[in-house]
Subunit: 650 residues, 3 copies
């Protein structure tokens, strides 16, 4: 549990660097990430390298006792490189080239840019790979940011054809998988196939899914080239990438397989404004952030690299890039930092040391204001560092598996996005809503891939696993866990078609139901869900008509058709449940799993990490909460002020 | 009154075909539409035809006693054809080519594609034109779907210039008609004229109108080529096209002049979600469909081909293409089918036999589920077939003219779209609202073109006849009918300019008013309409200041200016009336026309067909309704459950 | 105080002209603007001029005693010119050429079009420059209309590079000013720089600002060419341009420096519908127009050319170009005309003499209907002319400086638009809201540029002066005026970066505060503002955390941080205040300035012009209001009916 910071020495007078390093240490920072976007300063003209400033910057940090996380600068190829090779640029769905002038202006499929990326990575690796200050490497920055995964460049179209040839070998196999007999879309060879774009109406869904898979694979391939070079030139250092919140355009599990540590960039207020929350939630959480946004990602990324994960960028104050950019309440930067540690982070690194007075992010706060005074975030970071030192003896050395697993499957997310069937069927939101209810029930959650080992979990939740997954179904059938399946589970084959039998396909035996019909519900059309044990909740957006083979309803819709069913240890939800509905089905499953459920006060969350128990108050009121067991209070108290945290040794 | 189904043998294993045919007969199907999008299976490579599978499919259906409706597959040219002639593709308003990958990827103006269309039509006509199973031909599919009428391709631009040359002969005539002296837009020759697109601000409205007329004529010309070929090769068979709901981009009256039967594709739930209904209506009718959407089109298409019309595609369950796709209530498929027969349909054909498990429409229900079991729609179709057999002796052999004619003029619709003057002036909606009120008043309606014979109608309603139409005005003056004119009647010349005298132009003598000023009203700005006989209603969106020459007000606005006027047998409405306002003016006109008006219970409709009287309950409550006369109940009863229908012999 | 009208003789039969001229005189018109868009009639083919019709039109007007305002027709280059030089067209942000078919289809940076513009201006100047009827020239029409200031054509890109070279001389200076070290955006020479468009995400803000400055300069340069030619060929005549409401894409102060008279086009109802008012305001003012929209622009344009200004186009009835186009209430055309005179207009010219029955503006009312009868606007213009004659002896000969100056800075507007930081931070609206409150307080306002002489003002308000402006700060420090600074004042350097010290930068000493942090507030997130003297108001959209050096709070936010501060004679507002908040801070400042404040009845306004006092009732109720002094009533009375005006001699 250590603190870091993102630093751009090239943005500041060199005379400031020693003081910056000194003050970082003073704050309690141990890791400094640098060189992230510095290509034009490292190589100001083709083949002309200017290492000296970077050498001195690293030396300055090293001299102060700081550890350096080096970055490859490939998210920002310089102008001379773009001018020399305009074909490296991505092309959008309207056929427009996505040009120079900001960042991420490259196409992952450009082979020439991959060569440039390898060249600059090699140069950096050769120069700094063995530097004693360098402890880790970050590849590129935020793959996928600004919708950059999918490109329709010539390079991408050619890459897609090769990828299809690889996947299907035979064009007839492709025609069969995609169902091209529909609407006379049959291909005679792979050269006839094009990117799924610019069509008169909806394109073949299987073609879109394969294009998404291809685009995801291109990101993985691009990253792997850098990883391989860095491992060769900088042995013993961690290779990491910084993922971004709610970005699902490429398969993070696949990319993480090449990394040592999964890191992510945590901006709770920005995500609260820009994503799927309701207007009421956006208002209510404007200055706090939805309490489960950060934790959702903490638990997701912890599942990527055998439990090793960092926050690479922690929001330190107002940002500049959301529709609206409110300021966090005092105490939130500290609370977010402790929240990350509660979920098992190795390092929490703030973005950025000092607010830049110029360019695109000049309205993005740092730990320091542009005038070199500590901003509120800097004060709170200092406090956390002090608290960490106090707690040093008690910090956990191992992470403990959570009792609940939530399966998050990128392919399923893509399937729902390609084929929502109702304009508001958002599989990421559905996963988040289920997750959030588990957290409100006081349950700790591991978010895992569909191929994860499920041993040891008492409860496994699949909120939006559209992809038919026979292997997973088999593992679930053999597990001792209670299983909760969301609507549309198993409703799509790998080719985004119906499964061979009616949905939930491979999960049908587990669930004991088949889906006879589905309906998406327009806004305001709500179905009531009546529970066997009394009371009712509501469903909106989606409902299914089930036929029960071996399952029994535990709740029914207004027309008496099953809404939630129970079959052995499996629960199936035939609609988009509201929070109260999720509470009931997850409560039933948790009870069957013999898990203790605690309805936490509004906007309060708990988390176990090693033998420490964290209690965090995101609400605007004082609350009283402590572990039921006789536990030692290491930080805070039973009475928790707003934005306060307490830590208990169990 | 017969049932049909849309079938795609190429989507299924050949081994299933005989069972499918047998089960179609079992359900009570008599007509089967095939080959609609099968070009790539019929001609897998240029000039290489694979007829055998289609021969066998037809033979299988024929052997089961089914009649075949053959389609030309020109809505889906195969990839090899597009690759060989990319110039055949349409171009959108942003200059982007609308490419391969879905359907309708061709420009109506492409002469090379017209030749390809003729070639494949000839090949099909030669092979199956005399086949005993083949009773009808459908040309292409849903002209205009996915906004495909208007294209800005090179072919279209060249075609437009030739069309203008033909229309105006002399460039000065065009300059005069378009008013190009305005903003220095004068042309020196036809080669200087371009498509009305890509301009800095609003383009000359007359130019847009002519482009719409041209585009409409291109659709008619494209279709006529196929019709001529089919008549030559398949004499004695009906040639039909399947129109789509609320598509008004080309003149359906003009195209229908070349057909034997007008057919249309009836998707009440999809249209309810995607068109102009209010959010409240979208919610209320989500699982029923607005009761007048299907009947509006039934009455419209009955007016196209001397009364001969079919439903070519009847919604059988949830669809996939609306923003939201709810499931129809049980009973709706049966009710929609009877509703079509009540309005005089010869055939109601369901789309489709079985839900396809792959490709774009995999979420579109069929009569059967993908697993070959009958879905709810299939069960209800079976019931209708049984009922039809029971009623066989009583089915009407002739259709009876309705007492009310509603004039629907495509050119007027275009005029209002090009020049709405207020963002929510939608002439299609205005026509629909007037129609719906007539239906709620228990009146049967014929929707007719502006050149239709109006003899025998007691009441003629022109809700949105913006086009000044001296010929129609003369016929109305000579008719015995009461006439109701909506706002903006006669306000536009053929060149989308002011008429020579103030609006309503040629209708001014009839109405006894002139329009001194018009105003569109922003949302929330409502004018009250006070009726001479007491009470008031409201106007929104639009109002006019009238000067009465010979007319007398029957209602006035808050400022005491006339809102609704009466002159002899003509009524003029100077605003966008609410439902209550339509009820009053239509009630006054109906009374003057000595028509019996009955305010039907909410969401209940009646329809006379031959000597049968239908009563249909679209509401959620049981209602009691029967013809006032001593009539024999053939089906159902006076007490009508929700979604039930009763049929009475008068 | 004279009346004019816009007339297009080329739109009408020549036989109508004499009668039109006679009737103009009858109405009381003295000025007639002509030839505005007549290029294709003046030069129907390249180099072939057809002057005769225009000679006769001018002669006809002249014979009737009318004065002529001639226009250059450069807003509408004819088709033959565009065909000969397609490179003259502008290009939009998506790379699409903005073509022929409406108006303003040219790029200001096209050197070839500048030559054409000079050629036709010279031809007109040579022919009519000395004509005795011609009293003024209007250049082009409504620069910037239809978003035409910014273009991304090749000509514009080249022009931008040259402009940058001129501004920065050295590429390192540009790199420093723009902060290109951020995201590796450094340039090695000016040829590497491109237009700020088509990037993956947000482009460098300084680059956008410079592109806006460049584009603005191009408009000024384009206009200056015409001005220079006209001054040479038509000495002694006024050269004017007609600006448009709420268009801020170019610097009107800079362009006006070349003009004799600033004129503008006043469409209160259209602006009310199309701009930033709330839905409730749009409804409430639908038929009146917000009372301060016209006056805001009157006061703005009076500040451009040493007090000389006209209304070149006055809305005479419903228009055609807003989303909705309601009709003004009877009396509004007269009230708007008197409102313009109350603010000091020399001429109010109505657009247009007669409604055109064809082309784009056929739904735009004129003083006459298409059938040559006077419309309501014509009747009201006639009344004003009569009243002007009655008051002739009393009309003021000099204008009196207002007690309040509001600083309006185009660069600041651009800065806020480029970097809003919250989606609804609209600097034009902020300026308008402050202005409107001053007007509701009965205060007369001069809207001035940031370089204006501030002598004699008791109160200076800077609602949205984001640009750090040391010169202005110095003048304010030396002035005796009370100063009110809005949020974000001085927060941006000339290069759209942070000022050297924290905001408000150069204004910091004046205000006695520094801004520690800013936050934009999402919809619904409201902060309360508690005033020292009791009561509270609200802030939304924006708030700042201030540190007070020498200032004292006069109001605080809920968290007790300063919301409004006072320092000597300067007031600083740290948030987006509601109307009540503006009332309080402006009231405090006005009190300190010893200005008499009068809370006018709702929708009533007063204005002093010379020694006349105007009272105008925009409300729907009768009000009683008269100057407190013993004043002579020249027009109207103390009791003011809705839409009435009274004029008092002080």
């Amino acid at each position: 549990m250590k603190l870091g910071v993102c630093y751009y020495p090239e943005h500041w007078p060199e005379s400031w660097w020693p003081d910056d390093a000194r003050r970082m240490v003073e704050v309690g920072i141990q890791y400094v990430r640098i060189a992230e976007f510095a290509w034009s300063r490292i190589e100001p003209s083709p083949g002309v390298f200017a290492w000296e400033w970077l050498d001195r910057a690293i030396a300055t940090l090293h001299a102060a006792g700081l550890k350096v996380v080096m970055c490859t600068p490939t998210a920002t190829p310089p102008k001379w490189l773009v001018d020399a090779d305009p074909g490296m640029l991505a092309v959008d769905a309207h056929g427009q080239t996505r040009g120079f002038g900001s960042r991420r202006h490259y196409c992952f499929s450009s082979l020439s840019y991959r060569a440039q990326s390898a060249r600059i990575t090699t140069a950096l690796g050769e120069r700094y790979g063995q530097h004693p200050a360098v402890v880790a490497w970050q590849t590129d920055n935020e793959y996928g940011c600004h919708d950059t995964v999918v490109s329709y460049s010539t390079a991408a179209r050619q890459g897609f054809r090769a990828w299809l040839q690889q996947r299907y070998s035979d064009i007839d196999a492709l025609n069969m998988a995609w169902g091209t007999v529909f609407w006379s879309q049959e291909y005679r060879n792979f050269e006839e196939v094009d990117a799924p774009v610019g069509t008169v109406t909806e394109v073949t869904p299987a073609q879109r899914l394969d294009y998404q898979r291809f685009a995801s694979d291109e990101v993985v391939a691009f990253n792997r080239i850098q990883v391989d070079i860095l491992r060769q030139h900088s042995p013993g250092r961690d290779v990491v990438h910084n993922f971004m919140g709610f970005f699902t355009e490429f398969d993070h599990h696949a990319l993480s397989a090449d990394l040592d540590v999964a890191t992510w960039d945590s901006y709770p207020l920005g995500f609260t404004q820009n994503f799927f929350l309701t207007p009421e939630e956006k208002r209510h959480y404007a200055r706090i952030g939805h309490p489960d946004i950060a934790s959702f990602h903490h638990d997701l990324y912890r599942g990527m690299c055998k439990g090793r994960w960092w926050v690479m960028e922690q929001q330190p104050g107002p940002v500049n890039w959301a529709q609206w950019n409110p300021a966090p309440l005092d105490g939130m930067v500290r609370l977010w930092t402790w929240q990350a540690f509660a979920h098992g982070a190795e390092v929490v690194s703030y973005f950025r040391w000092r607010q830049a007075p110029f360019a695109q992010e000049q309205m993005h706060a740092g730990l320091n204001r542009p005038d070199r005074t500590l901003d509120q975030g800097g004060l709170e970071a200092t406090q956390v560092a002090q608290e960490l030192r106090q707690l040093q003896a008690h910090l956990p050395t191992s992470y403990q598996q959570a009792p609940v697993a939530l399966v998050f499957d990128f392919t399923s997310i893509w399937m729902a996005k390609i084929q929502p069937q109702g304009a508001d069927f958002n599989a990421v939101e559905l996963s988040f809503r289920a997750y959030s209810m588990l957290r409100q029930m006081g349950l700790d959650v591991d978010i895992v891939s569909s191929s994860a080992d499920l041993d040891g979990y008492a409860l496994v939740v699949l909120p939006a696993h559209l992809r038919e997954d026979a292997a997973l179904a088999a593992r679930l059938a053999n597990s001792k866990a209670q299983v909760v399946l969301g609507p549309r589970s198993g409703s799509k084959s790998e080719a985004l078609a119906f499964p061979d039998k009616l949905p939930p396909g491979a999960f049908a035996d587990l669930a004991g139901v088949t889906v006879q019909r589905v309906a998406s519900l327009p806004p305001g059309l709500v179905d009531s869900v009546h529970w066997n044990d009394g009371g009712h909740t509501e469903a909106s957006r989606w409902r299914e008509d089930l036929a029960c083979s071996t399952a029994a309803p535990v709740a029914v819709f207004a027309d008496n058709r099953p809404a939630v069913t129970h079959n052995g240890s499996t629960w199936y939800t035939a609609g988009w449940l509201d929070a109260a509905g999720w509470r009931r089905v997850l409560g039933l499953a948790a009870q069957a799993a013999q898990l203790t459920v605690q309805d936490l006060p509004t906007d309060v969350r708990t988390r176990r990490c090693g033998d420490l128990q964290f209690v965090m108050n995101f609400s605007g009121s004082e609350v009283q909460l402590a572990p039921a067991t006789h536990a030692q209070c290491l930080l805070g108290a039973r009475d928790l002020a707003p934005q306060a945290v307490s830590i208990w040794k169990l």
